[in-house]
Symmetry: C2
Subunit: 338 residues, 2 copies
């Protein structure tokens, strides 16, 4: 690589998802069993491809949100386990399709499924997991949860197409970019959190609170992820620093550096992002320009803004260990980078 940027300062802060992990440990055991069971098939390639990604060490943040959001409202039963598994399958399906769309070689530090089994298997196993996700939701039988999650599925795909449509366009505004990440990332966080109070039959206000929490957490999460692409190490990231840059992705750090740049700098960005001249030397220059214009710092500032909204969304709710754990997730997401 040759490019290492020190974003580690203060990284060892107190924020963690340890409490979330502890509170949801028993339920996540059930989720993990259900994942293995529902990714199973007599067609051997299906569990092979699915387990490659499922076992690759993602944090499983999204299903934990569903579990904690159900627990905090005293939900009793096993529907939260099924919906959490559905959420993880929707996410996994999206990753499988994303890797095909982005032509990615690595995901979480491992070869992508498409590199091992081909684009075809990635597309089709993604479709299978999406089908299984819907079957589990139907099994739960809550039309409201089905509505929330099926709408999220449409919105995610719509966001991905929008991202494709604005791809390599440096004139993308911040607002347009927020629309993309709201759809492609935040919508699933929002749905994952909202279905908790839904299956616990809670009030409209409480459902709206969890939805708002999830949506804003998702926005913060994605912005931090975009910032991390220009810092950190591949080991921490599970991807290579500069992947977005090499793929010509117009993320917020790029948008800010481009908009604030001199005419000469904009020529550099056009050449790198739109023309694809994005080698390691260019990446180093890109990171220097971002530092000059505080593009990373301000991306994190935007993430904090959404994190604050997520925090206030939960403010009116009764104090519970789950609420505290969900609040810590916000800090954790942002402290990944600062």
């Amino acid at each position: 690589m040759g490019v290492v940027v020190n974003l580690d300062e203060g990284k060892k802060g107190s924020a963690s998802i340890r409490n979330l992990i502890e509170l949801t440990a028993a339920d996540m055991g059930a989720v993990n069993e259900l994942i293995l069971s529902k990714a199973g098939s007599d067609v051997a390639m299906i569990p092979e491809v699915a387990n490659h990604l499922i076992s690759s060490g993602g944090k499983r943040l999204r299903p934990m949100l569903t579990l904690a959001a159900a627990q905090m409202f005293g939900y009793q039963g096993d529907h939260h386990v099924k919906l959490a598994t559905s959420v993880e399958f929707m996410h996994t399906a999206t990753l499988l399709h994303d890797d095909v769309v982005d032509e990615s070689d690595l995901r979480r530090g491992k070869s992508t499924a498409r590199m091992i089994w081909g684009n075809q298997a990635s597309v089709l196993v993604g479709d299978f997991l999406l089908g299984q996700a819907f079957r589990m939701m139907v099994d739960v039988g809550s039309l409201e949860a089905l509505d929330i999650l099926s709408t999220a599925a449409s919105v995610i795909a719509e966001g991905e197409v929008l991202q494709l449509a604005v791809a390599k366009n440096l004139e993308t505004t911040e607002d347009e970019h927020f629309n993309v990440i709201k759809a492609k990332t935040a919508a699933l966080f929002a749905a994952a959190a909202e279905v908790g109070p839904v299956i616990a039959n809670r009030s409209k206000t409480e459902k709206a609170a969890l939805r708002s929490y999830g949506m804003n957490l998702g926005l913060a999460f994605q912005l931090v992820d975009d910032a991390l692409d220009y810092g950190g190490s591949a080991k921490d990231l599970g991807k290579n620093v500069g992947d977005d840059f090499r793929e010509g992705k117009v993320t917020l750090p790029v948008i800010l550096a481009y908009r604030r740049g001199s005419p000469e700098e904009r020529v550099f960005w056009k050449d790198a992002i739109e023309e694809g001249n994005a080698d390691d030397a260019k990446l180093e220059h890109a990171i220097a320009l971002m530092a000059k214009h505080n593009a990373i710092g301000d991306t994190i500032a935007r993430a904090r803004h959404f994190g604050d909204i997520a925090c206030d969304a939960l403010a009116p709710l009764d104090a519970t260990p789950q609420k505290d754990a969900l609040l810590e997730v916000i800090d954790f997401c942002i402290s990944r980078v600062v």
Copy 2:
């Protein structure tokens, strides 16, 4: 092409889907409106890609099955229109993904979406249409219909992966092949027909009858389609004769010709299907070998077998114009080729 095989004899028989089209014309008007509305999006690429395929002149047989199956049980309301549209969207999503998986250039005589907008758009717009299909089903609110259609979505994807796993394997048995086409084609026909009596709140027997009709019709339909790939003209087919051959697809005509072939003939098949040496001269030879072993004739005989079962599935039901129209569909499917 240079290869034309005369399978036209008797093709102008009386069998048609005219009655089905007439009976469902008003409802199909509503379906077509809903298709345009639900394929709409502020993201312009979505309706562009979707309408390219939607307007390309498919017969829309599957949604007509849903409409006729609801009508024959006296269903009143508009849920059948929504479910029929969902079925068509599921089918369209599958086609978009299939074209990526098969790397197809042509579909129904037009360039495939992936050739115009790229694999990425085909994958993502397919995902969007699938999401929209589920939203419409949720809107209908029948958990039983949701169960049937979401199960079909999983099974279809599973069948596609199975097809991928056995791809280019000439040792595939007829039984294994039936499992593939049952999952990838017949499952959606079965679901499309079954949801008719489901939303009309009819008996278990009546639902089972329509399911069996759809499943067996789907099997017959796919077998005839596979036979047509070795005869007919590209104009009739909307695809090129020999597409399956050139892609090395192991369809029933190939399975029969291979199993019945001499050792020398099997060497030919291995070379063509497994090694991909499948030019026009090879195609001509393949068709000659199929004629020698009556592989096409016996593929049609298998199709008739399933068509007969589909016919008997409906036998106990009261005579209605819809029942007659559905019976005619069986003959129509088979008469496409003989």
